[in-house]
């Protein structure tokens, strides 16, 4: 029994069918995720339209260095995730393991940077509440969106990291063959979480700078 056939699960008769089902299922899930983030994006859009000046003023207080650095980190993690999935697909187990480890490191680095950023934000008192340092009061609406959107994104990233770590261990222990379509599902999810951040960057960090 070859490694590739070991990757085949019920109820599929061929690995190609299992792969197609995996991609389709994950894409459908991602469509629901688009609408999940879409709700917050829509709320942001409406409030920004209502209070454009407060949003510009509030957004100036986000840390563009951390934000830009984290975008570069996530884009790079998508590169390593892509190569990890492609090399797994071709049966290059060792390359795939190294790339998965690099993706794990980059994803963790994102969270570390985000942690420093949150620490600074809280030190500056930028959490909506009675002692909020900015005026007018609508600047708090921007910061509420900041915390919700980046927080929900971070939760997605943490979930992705958990699945990524588990699959890396399984691949390392040879409990999961590299040909398993699960790597494709993981990669799709990872790239989606990266895309969400790409959209958040201009909305949360790049407004009110000029």
């Amino acid at each position: 029994m070859s490694e590739a056939s070991h990757a085949l699960n019920d109820p599929w008769s061929t690995l190609a069918r299992q792969r197609a089902a995996m991609s389709f299922g994950v894409w459908l899930f991602l469509a629901s995720e688009v609408l999940f983030f879409g709700g917050a994006l829509l709320g942001y859009t409406i409030y920004r339209d209502l209070y454009p000046d407060a949003f510009r003023l509030a957004a100036r207080e986000t840390d563009i260095v951390y934000g830009t650095l984290n975008t570069a980190i996530l884009l790079t993690s998508s590169l390593t995730m892509f190569v990890a999935e492609r090399s797994a697909h071709e049966g290059f187990r060792r390359t795939s393991l190294w790339c998965l480890a690099a993706t794990l490191a980059l994803g963790s680095a994102f969270l570390v940077v985000k942690g420093f950023e949150y620490y600074d934000d809280i030190a500056k008192g930028l959490f909506p509440g009675p002692a909020f340092p900015l005026q007018p009061a609508q600047t708090q609406i921007f910061w509420a969106f900041y915390w919700v959107m980046t927080g929900v994104h971070a939760i997605h990233l943490i979930l992705g990291l958990g699945i990524l770590a588990a699959m890396t261990v399984l691949l390392y222990r040879r409990a999961l063959p590299p040909q398993s379509p699960s790597f494709q599902g993981l990669a799709l999810y990872w790239h989606f979480v990266d895309s969400v951040w790409v959209v958040l960057l201009p909305l949360l960090y790049l407004i009110g700078r000029a």
Binding site: W27, A31, D194
Partner: protein
Amino acid sequence: MKTETRAIHLWLMPIAVWLALLILLGLSVGSAYVQLGAFNTPTNLAIAAVKVALVLVFFMQLQSSSALLRLASVAGLFWLVLMFGLTASDYLTRP
């Protein structure tokens, strides 16, 4: 049997895409500091859209995917457009 060293060919396309993404990131952050008036936000959103498109087409492999997957990939965006469109038809048309 392919050897593992041949894995180098897997890197060429994604590195090109990655470089393009980093250049766009630089453009995006740089342009945010240029005085473009009302055009700062549209510029940045357009750059973000190009970046997302690059990720979708190359990293998420839509360029080699079946029609079914391509349709599934735009399903979420389709409903998102409806949601934004219908909401905007209220909020943006209030006197």
